[in-house]
């Protein structure tokens, strides 16, 4: 039973990280209909920024809570700057081009960013310090759920709630929803669509960066390639939930995280990725619009 609960929580932790990344895919897709293949790299850049900033801050002798908060902020801001710039340079000029062009541009951006970090940093794995200490009160749950899992779960939940409030009630959130539903009409009511698209990239990048920092601290190492696998998994989760749907991305992420966790725990960890992609294939066959995605009906 303990083993089951342990797998359950480790599945939730995985799911949380997937969700933080998947939200960026799904929001961008919802607004401009593009699969932003460079999004995994933004997550990777967030993790690298976190590594550098947290190392510098701890050498300077900052207390741990300050290190965590400042690192999260720095990673989110730096990754957002990348996300914003990628959109501006690689996607905006192709806004009215055939659909395939921005997709190819996205794949190019992904490769560029990977190789840029590979050359600027190192091809090797770098150790990442554990930012989350082992809380004393968590000791009796040891073996079932760790302190860092708990922090990841809580952080993700808080972020999801804030994001939901932002999208539902703020002016920017309303503009995002309107733009996703009908871009021409959004322009006709006076929404600056370029601005909305930039905000979407910034938000998605910030979430991914925080995901990158959390998981790097949880696992303890990073390299230039972590964005690729995590990106594909999160993308799978977004498709599973229905790409373009925000609740769908969260649901898909948790289903994927739990499936992977149980499958590797009870069957074999050699097949971890096989389960994820089998799930993707099944969903594409039986429910191509995803669990919460809408079947597109053309209404005249």
């Amino acid at each position: 039973m303990d083993y089951f609960v342990e797998l359950f929580f480790s599945g939730l932790t995985r799911g949380s990280i997937y969700a933080l990344i998947a939200l960026g895919y799904t929001m961008v897709y919802g607004i401009i209909g593009l699969i932003n293949f460079a999004h995994g790299e933004i997550y990777m850049i967030g993790a690298f920024t976190a590594l550098i900033v947290s190392t510098v801050l701890s050498i300077m002798g900052f207390p741990l809570p300050a290190i965590i908060i400042l690192t999260a902020l720095a990673a989110a801001i730096w990754a957002s700057a990348y996300g914003y710039t990628v959109e501006k340079l690689a996607y905006r000029p192709l806004r009215n081009a055939p659909r395939l062009s921005p997709l190819i541009s996205a794949i190019g951006m992904s490769m560029f960013l990977q190789n840029y970090v590979l050359l600027a940093q190192t091809p090797d794995f770098l150790p990442f310090p554990a930012l989350i200490p082992d809380f004393a009160f968590m000791e009796r749950f040891a073996g079932v759920i760790g302190s860092s899992d708990l922090v990841i779960l809580i952080t993700t939940t808080v972020i999801m709630i804030l994001l939901t409030l932002l999208i539902k009630f703020t002016r920017t959130g309303k503009a995002m929803r309107a733009t996703a539903q009908d871009r021409t009409m959004a322009m006709l009511v006076g929404i600056n669509v370029d601005h909305v698209i930039s905000v979407t990239f910034i938000l998605g990048s910030a979430l991914a960066a925080i995901g990158g920092m959390l998981i790097a601290s949880h696992i303890g190492q990073i390299n230039f390639y972590i964005g690729f696998i995590a990106g594909i998994k999160a993308f799978t989760a977004a498709v599973l939930g229905g790409i373009g749907s925000i609740p769908g991305a969260v649901l898909g992420s948790f289903i994927l995280g739990l499936t992977e966790s149980f499958a590797t725990g009870y069957v074999s960890s050699d097949y971890e990725d096989v389960f994820a992609f089998s799930l993707l294939v099944l969903i594409l066959i039986f429910r191509p619009s995803g669990l919460l995605g809408k079947a597109t009906i053309e209404k005249v």
Binding site: K174, R177, A178, M185, M187, L188, V189, G190, N192
Partner: protein, 235 residues
């Protein structure tokens, strides 16, 4: 109030508007009539900055607007009810109306205008919590017009408000267009297939044929014109 000077608009390499020149005076209702594909919607989209002209000028109160972005043009007071209504399907009726007032900050004024549009179309008040996508075509048209009114436009561009509506609803919508023009002193630029009806409410009219203006006159004169009668009024 609005002036187009030799406007040419393209979709890629295809030219949709050829040297369109026209004027709209403050407080009037003008109509642009023409067959399918003549370029009526394109004219409105050029004015709104969605499909900006390649050549020519568009002046609003003497100020060039053809290089402004669409949201800046709305901010100047030019609003469009596009062809096909374009209701935000997953926003409720109330949220759709709220989007119409996106650029406004005066809460009191917004509340007053909300009451006003609900008084024009009581059905919208009843349906205010339903998703816009669930309304019938006629209700969506009422919502689309109301949403534009929520912006308090100085110039309202209407693209085929009668499309797909029953004659009774069409008459009601046209009555309200007149009312908006009179009571709110909103200038109206009406694009219509239903030339008969359009020329009845309008002060002046322009005829568009394959991207060119071929005639313009007072609405009454156009209705009496033999060519217009044969081509557009089915007489």
């Amino acid at each position: 109030m609005l002036e187009l000077r030799e406007v040419c608009t393209y979709y890629g390499n295809i030219q949709a508007l050829r040297d369109i020149s026209l004027r709209v005076e403050e407080g009037e209702i003008i109509t642009l009539i023409g067959a399918n594909g003549a370029g009526k919607s394109t004219t409105l989209m050029s004015i709104s900055g969605i499909v900006p002209p390649k050549r020519g000028e568009i002046l609003f109160r003497g100020r060039p607007i053809h290089e402004l972005s669409a949201d800046r043009i709305v901010a100047l007071g030019i609003c469009q009810v596009p062809e096909g209504r374009h209701i935000f399907p997953d926003l409720t009726v109330a949220e759709n109306l709220d989007m119409g007032a996106f650029l406004r900050r005066d809460r009191k004024g917004i509340a007053r205008d909300l009451d006003y549009v609900y008084s024009l179309f009581p059905i919208l008040r009843e349906r205010r919590n339903q998703p816009g996508g669930n309304l019938s075509g006629g209700e969506q048209q009422m919502l689309a017009i109301s949403r534009a009114l929520m912006a308090r436009p100085q110039l309202l561009l209407l693209d085929e408000p009668s499309m797909g509506l029953a004659p009774l609803v069409t008459r009601q919508i046209f009555e309200i267009i007149r009312q908006i023009n009179r009571e709110q002193n909103t200038t109206i630029f009406l694009v219509e297939q239903n030339a008969n009806l359009a020329l009845k409410v309008a002060d002046r009219g322009y005829v568009l044929e394959t991207g060119r203006i071929t005639m313009h006159d007072r609405a009454g004169a156009l209705r009496a014109n033999r060519d217009v009668q044969r081509a557009y009024l089915g007489i």
